[in-house]
Symmetry: C2
Subunit: 226 residues, 2 copies
């Protein structure tokens, strides 16, 4: 038995795309790379961020925007590393939209930063629908969530440039098949870069860091040529 329900939201998304375009332009002008980090609650977004800050923080000027429904747990964790951080409270809302990001960026200041991470709300559904003007959409699928997730939350995998499969050391415990997850993700998005990582041990981060460095260099070069 099947039952469908849909919602007209073209208007909301059109407004959103305009704000996203403004953010994209602002990033280009200041030579800053914006990464939208997404994933389920507990997938390991903050831990991955800490590892990336550790690996990239000496060479690049990094800022972090921490979106949370209500708390500031993650912002405090990031701030403890000495990284500039802004806490964004969505007031119960389940995702960041482009307008919120654009306003937060204005109050954060971007001119003196090379790389900004937005840690989005822990949610595998809504953040995928709202393009915020990021240069890189990086999603985390954690092993305990299961390798079938691309089948169930297809949009997130479709819109992401990178899929980090985190907690990869626990794959045997959860009968997680990395190759099967990749095949499922690629059937939605042939270009998606898939990297097995462990934010605990650091495994896989060479590849993630290399990917980001490449994008950062491109951005810097584009900025210098302007």
């Amino acid at each position: 038995m099947e039952f469908k329900t849909t919602e007209i939201k073209e208007r909301v998304l059109a407004d959103n795309n305009e704000a996203a375009a403004r953010t994209r332009e602002r990033m280009r002008q200041s030579g800053t790379l914006l990464v939208n980090l997404m994933g389920s609650p507990g997938a390991g977004k903050t831990s991955v961020l800490l590892k990336l800050i550790e690996r990239l923080g000496t060479q690049y000027r990094i800022g972090v925007m921490e979106a949370d429904v209500d708390s500031d747990v993650d912002a405090r964790t990031i701030a403890a590393t000495g990284t500039r951080v802004i806490q964004i409270h969505t007031g119960g809302l389940c995702h960041m939209d482009a307008d919120m990001v654009s306003r937060a960026l204005a109050s954060f200041g971007v001119e003196d930063l090379d790389l900004i991470f937005l840690e989005n709300i822990g949610n595998l559904v809504c953040p995928a629908e709202f393009e915020i003007g990021a240069d890189v959409r990086m999603m985390i699928l954690s092993v305990p969530e299961g390798d079938d997730k691309p089948l169930k939350y297809p949009l997130m995998f479709s819109v992401s440039d990178v899929m980090l499969v985190n907690k990869i050391d626990t794959a045997p415990i959860f009968d997680f098949d990395f190759d099967a997850a990749v095949v499922r993700a690629r059937s939605l998005n042939a270009q998606i870069v898939c990297v097995p990582v462990s934010a605990k041990s650091g495994r896989g981060f060479d590849e993630v860091v290399q990917f980001l460095r490449m994008r950062l260099d491109e951005r810097r070069q584009m900025h210098e040529n302007n």
Copy 2:
């Protein structure tokens, strides 16, 4: 640095509460218990459901409403047990609202059922905001998500009657402190029933089954007295 953003949604929620009240009344009249099962992607909602069907299915007439953004993976899993199931596609929407549930129930039929589970969209944020008229709100927190989740997604813990802590056998691997999770959940909701479970091994299900039996008997008695 902090930056707040809020959304006026009183109107939407008022409409929603009316529809929820209608569902609650329909359930009472048919002597059926409605359970809203919520949790993050991969927390184990479908596996918990399978265990509950196995334990309660011989004594009670069970129906399952499977809410999914797009797929029908879980509905097929449940249907394989011979349980009556309806697939609800939210068309990208991140939660079920009371009106969708009410319309789905009408097409599903409830009169000949004792117990209906709604498996909500995998999401720890939005489903908590939309009361759908359930008699029991049962949420699953899975161990790999971390014991800090009540701090970060407080509303879900505040509105739930039961918190199942699933994949409890992996607690040592993830340094998960069950007691700490319970203290955090209870600081938001003193009444919340907390049960450590493993949908894989069946651990903890005696207690969950006992809790549901009690609520089912109350509902049946209330129905017979009418």
